[in-house]
């Protein structure tokens, strides 16, 4: 048995295991190796075990990736519905084919908007809009596609208020001095820091506590 065939067998086994609905899975593989295909197949496999497709949630980092995955799932459902062969690994998965039929049973073909395949931003937005009081977000909030201008506005507001805020007046004075007393320099750096706040804010808040 050649090394290649052993590797191929291991690969196929890993792909099969990744579809097991009862197991949690961390899938790590190089770009182009078929992670999204496996995720799509797993999504289809999970359809067999739910009463409503909304019970399954798939999240991606970008809207484009979400849209592509949604397309693949719909293609697979159509293929299963029409008895045509499916692509790649989805085709090789019997569970995938069964699940695709389940998808058809759940009405996904006539109502694909039931698929919960989204970015994490979109999921959070949906949760906040469904729980406007508990989330304290109110329904009027919208995701800003380009928050840069908002960061600048917040930074400017902060600097304008700083001289009359004893808690930050001295620190602001020091920052200005270090940055050549340049308003645009300080404002720009503050805005940049707001953009990257996930890196430093927890440490600052933690240190204060």
């Amino acid at each position: 048995v050649s090394d290649a065939s052993v590797a191929l067998e291991q690969d196929a086994r890993a792909r099969r295991e990744a579809l097991h609905p009862a197991r949690s899975m961390l899938l790590q593989a190089p770009a182009g190796s078929g992670k999204t295909t496996v995720l799509t197949a797993r999504y289809l496999a999970l359809l067999a075990s739910v009463d409503a497709p909304e019970e399954i949630l798939a999240m991606t980092f970008t809207r484009k990736a979400a849209a592509e995955m949604r397309q693949r799932v719909i293609e697979a459902l159509h293929a299963a519905d029409s008895g045509k062969a499916m692509n790649g690994h989805t085709q090789r998965s019997a569970a995938g084919r069964t699940a695709a039929r389940c998808g058809a049973r759940l009405g996904l073909l006539s109502n694909p908007s039931r698929l919960r395949i989204d970015t994490i931003d979109a999921l959070n937005y949906w949760l906040a809009s469904q729980l406007p009081v508990a989330s304290r977000a109110s329904p009027g909030l919208q995701i800003a596609a380009d928050p840069g201008a908002l960061y600048r506005r917040a930074a400017r507001r902060c600097l304008e208020l700083a001289p009359s805020e004893p808690a930050i007046a001295a620190a602001t004075d020091l920052v200005f001095t270090r940055l050549d007393n340049s308003w645009s320099g300080v404002e720009g750096r503050l805005a940049e820091m707001l953009k990257e706040r996930s890196h430093w804010l927890p440490r600052v808040v933690g240190a204060e506590r």
């Binding site: 006539s110 304290r136 977000a137």
Partner: protein, 897 residues
């Protein structure tokens, strides 16, 4: 033509009342009725009794009053909203909800669902339901106290409604079962949509813009066949795509109108239902911004919008534009009336008297609005008087739309004054904010005649029958829509009550039902979708019929009579000529060339940049920012250096002074420079910034003096000298910061001051990124021994340039072995600079930027180059991001000519 089905026509002809969901549908039905009468050969007929639901309720209340029944006053729509605002704010207070105003509409919608579906809230409540319940309780209590009827709840007014057999309701297919039952039990009937479905086509488009374009072309082809056709276009995401549809429809349907130079929507071939926010009309925005200027909360943007508005007499547009430019150039970002008043003295020197008079009137008007706290009616009067003093809405004749917008704004002020929700005395800010919120709620649609094409975002039964109907945006992700449970009602209650939008199955059913209604509402129905909208791949809705799918390219219009702008241009068959757009006609110089060394710098970094700025005068309009303007900072340092060197002109004099004496002279020079420069400036950056700026200036001078003390002996020959440098074809005016005579061989060193991070200077570059120093060197001629930019930084002094010998100035390099010698370099520079001047004079305007030349260029819209596509210079490790690099000459008298 619009048509009505037999049931509706018979009912109206028989004198019955037809109730429809909204005003837009009522207008459509009335128009269809008129068309039917005309087709029947009638010249005169009774007005059909078609009413939107709200108007029908109002009429029932009037009838009850006529019958002598005591009927409480019904709140106006605005009053109702304000009372809900009060209720919702109180209900949300304990939950710290961000933007409670955004909860008002959801609460009102949920109230409608509770009543329409006969739902009672349970005892144990989610926070959302608790807010809803608390809001409802508050609203009801306050309604009782005020003895008024709400505008949201039909239950509140149900005692006075008289449905009866003469009332037919149409377009209420999604009404809740409780309301339907209540109405039917009292004799009202619901119309049944009859008729056969028309033909259906499915149109596949590339994106939203192509959908709009295809629909517009389709309209043209329809009108070629039938000039009287009436078309309905349904665009679910109309608010986001409005601009696309306006552009496509106006270009294809209003071409003749555009060419005639008229833009009144009353004459347009299409109308967009629902209108726009009243605040989006510039005439109204001007009025609101003028009022905002009296509150102290307005920013420069609002002031600038007012100054550039055509809807004021004081200041008129010309005076306003002059003031706007002056404020920008002087970095005045304050919009306070008293700050503007304090500038009048400076303005007297810079602006003509004809502009000062209306500006003064404007400032007077703002300052006369003195009340700090008053009742709404008094505020409305105050604001009306303010606008009158400013000459709003201007002397020019208003178009029909503008006139209607003006009247609607006057109504709004009236509503504000007479609103019955007690607000008590309001301070200036609260009153303004309340007016602003009220204005934002008003969707204003100028009245228009019967138009051939109606565009709507409403996903509802059209009621009237159109010749053709187009529904756009039917992709799989939006049609059928995802389940949208009401966020305030418990989900289980919504499922139990059968609220359709709460579940996917309900949404699917509603979508199928509406699609059938669309198909029955027109002889021809087009359903379109985009496969790559917003750069995302999309699928067609599964509800679209599989057959009859078509691509947008299949829409052709052929008739010559259609009024498409594009077609009109083509029909004129203008002769085509080729034009090489890398250059423009040569310029005949008249004396001194514009821009000084800036001409050389821009021409070298990107010929188009020089052409745009110096020949087209496409200079950016400055935008005031907080802090001290870079120009002012440059001028202060410039002035301070000048004052410092005036009393002593050589290094020995500098050395003779004690350190404390030098420091004293620095302090004195900086203080005097601040006083002199700021005296003529309008901006007030604040004491803290100025204090730091003084300290910074002292520090920079101290660094410089320390550096000067370590230099070989020198004598300052000239400070701030100006010189005309002749080139073939024209002369450039150069201004050199400083020229030193070096004491060893009496040759000259030219110094240019800058602040910020030092940039490397490449004396031998094919395209000189900094031709300033070479220009100075050849201006001085054979006596020049070195040119240098001295960077004044917080950490010390950096020097970049080149010298004939490496011992001239610190580590300033000299030409190395293999490189052209100093004299040869001077000749080379002379040729390079002459080449730049020649290019400029010959109109060379090619877009060919040096790396990083596009980073801060304002001309990208004009040159249409993608800066990201320009190769970056990865070897350049200098980063000037966020640092003000100030060429002291840029802001002084440099770039003369």
């Amino acid at each position: 033509l619009l048509e009505l089905n037999t049931e509706l026509l018979t009912h109206l002809t028989g004198g019955g009342t037809l109730v429809v969901p909204n005003r837009q549908r009522a207008v459509a039905v009335s128009t269809a009725y008129s068309a039917s009468m005309l087709q029947a050969g009638k010249q005169v007929w009774s007005t059909p009794d078609v009413l939107p639901w709200s108007a029908w309720v109002e009429r029932c209340l009037d009838e009850a009053r006529t019958q002598g029944r005591p009927v409480p006053r019904r709140l106006s729509a605005m009053e109702d909203w304000l009372l809900w605002q009060e209720a919702v704010h109180e209900a949300c207070a304990s939950y710290q909800v961000l933007m409670p105003d955004a909860m008002i509409e959801p609460v009102r919608r949920a109230v409608g669902l509770l009543e329409d579906y006969g739902i009672a809230l349970p005892g144990a409540l989610t926070p959302e339901a608790a807010v809803l319940q608390s809001s409802v309780q508050h609203f009801k209590r306050r309604s009782r106290e005020l003895q008024v009827l709400g505008n949201t709840s039909w239950r509140d007014v149900s005692d006075y409604l008289q449905p009866g057999a003469r009332v037919l309701l149409a377009g209420f297919s999604t009404i809740g079962p409780a309301r339907r039952r209540w109405l039917e039990e009292r004799g009202a009937r619901f119309a049944v949509q009859a008729g056969l479905p028309g033909s259906v086509r499915v149109m596949r488009c590339e994106n939203f813009a192509q959908e709009a374009e295809a629909a517009a072309q389709w309209c043209v082809s329809l009108f070629e066949r039938d000039a009287n056709a009436r078309v309905l276009i349904v665009v679910p995401e109309l608010s986001a795509q409005r601009h696309l549809w306006e552009r496509a429809l106006s270009q294809h349907l209003d071409g003749a109108l555009i060419l005639a130079g008229r833009d009144s929507s009353a004459q347009s071939a299409f109308a967009i239902e629902g209108g726009r926010r009243l605040t989006s009309y510039r005439l109204v925005a001007t009025a609101l911004n003028v009022i905002a200027l009296t509150t102290g909360f307005a920013r420069f943007d609002e002031l600038s919008a007012v100054l550039r508005s055509p809807y004021l007499d004081a200041p008129d547009r010309a005076a306003g534009a002059l003031l706007d430019r002056w404020l920008r150039e002087h970095n005045v970002d304050s919009a306070q009336p008293q700050a503007l008043r304090s500038l009048l003295e400076l303005l007297r020197h810079d602006l003509p008297a004809s502009a000062l008079a209306p500006i003064t009137t404007f400032i007077d008007a703002l300052e006369q609005t003195r009340a700090s706290s008053d009742y709404p009616a008094a505020w409305a009067q105050t604001w009306a008087a303010l606008l009158e003093r400013c000459g709003w809405p201007g002397g020019a004749k208003l178009s029909s739309d503008e006139q209607q917008a003006r009247m609607r704004f006057d109504e709004l002020l009236g509503d504000f004054a007479t609103v019955a929700i007690p607000a008590g005395r309001l301070n200036r800010t609260d009153a303004w904010q309340r007016l602003g919120k009220m204005a934002q709620r008003v969707a204003f649609e100028p009245a228009s005649d019967d138009v051939p094409v109606t565009v709507t975002s409403r996903l509802e039964e059209p009621i009237a029958h159109y010749d053709a109907l187009w529904v756009a945006g039917l992709t799989a992700d939006v049609w059928p829509p995802a389940a949208r449970p009401d966020p305030l009602l418990p989900l289980s209650l919504q499922y139990a009550a059968g609220i359709a939008p709460a579940s996917a199955a309900g949404q699917l059913k509603l979508a199928q039902q509406l699609q059938q209604q669309w198909q029955r509402s027109a002889g021809e129905c087009v359903l379109s979708w985009s496969y790559s909208a917003e750069d995302l791949p999309r699928d067609p809705s599964p509800l679209l019929p599989g057959e009859a799918r078509d691509s947008a390219a299949s829409i052709h219009t052929t008739a010559a009579g259609a009024c498409s702008l594009e077609r009109w241009v083509a029909s004129q068959a203008p002769p085509l000529e080729s034009w090489r757009d890398v250059g423009s006609p040569a310029q005949v110089p008249e004396g001194v060339l514009p821009g000084g060394t800036k001409l050389l710098e821009l021409q070298s970094s990107c010929a188009f940049h020089a052409y745009a700025e110096l020949r087209l005068l496409a200079t950016p309009l400055p935008r005031p920012t907080p802090g001290i303007d870079a120009r002012v900072r440059g001028n202060i340092l410039h002035e301070a250096l000048d004052l410092f060197w005036q009393p002593m002109r050589d290094q020995s004099a500098l050395r003779e002074r004690s350190e404390s004496a030098r420091r004293e002279l620095i302090d004195h020079s900086v203080d005097a420079a601040f006083e002199k420069v700021l005296k003529n400036e309008g901006s007030n950056p604040g004491q803290e910034l100025l204090k730091r700026e003084r300290a910074r200036a002292r520090k920079l001078l101290e660094h410089l003096i320390a550096w000067e003390l370590k230099r070989p002996d020198f004598r300052i020959e000239r400070l701030e000298s100006t010189q005309l440098q002749p080139f073939t074809g024209g002369a450039l005016k150069l201004r050199m910061d400083r020229i030193d005579r070096l004491q060893d061989d009496k040759r000259l060193l030219i110094i240019d001051y800058k602040t910020g991070k030092a940039k490397k200077f490449d004396a031998f570059a094919e395209r000189l990124p900094q031709p300033q120093l070479p220009a100075y060197a050849i201006a001085i001629g054979a006596l020049s021994a070195a040119v240098a930019t001295v960077y004044l930084g917080r950490e010390g002094i950096a020097c970049r340039g080149i010298a004939d010998r490496s011992d001239r100035l610190g580590r300033l390099p000299a030409p190395r072995k293999g490189e052209p010698g100093w004299d040869e370099l001077m000749q080379r520079w002379q040729q390079q600079l002459q080449g730049l001047v020649d290019q400029f004079l010959h109109g060379e305007a090619i877009v060919w930027p040096l790396p990083q030349a596009c980073d801060y260029c304002h001309l990208s819209l004009l040159c249409r180059i993608d800066p990201n596509a320009v190769e970056s210079d990865e070897d350049d490790d200098l980063d000037n991001d966020l640092d003000d690099e100030i060429d002291l000459n840029d802001y002084g008298l440099g770039y003369g000519g």
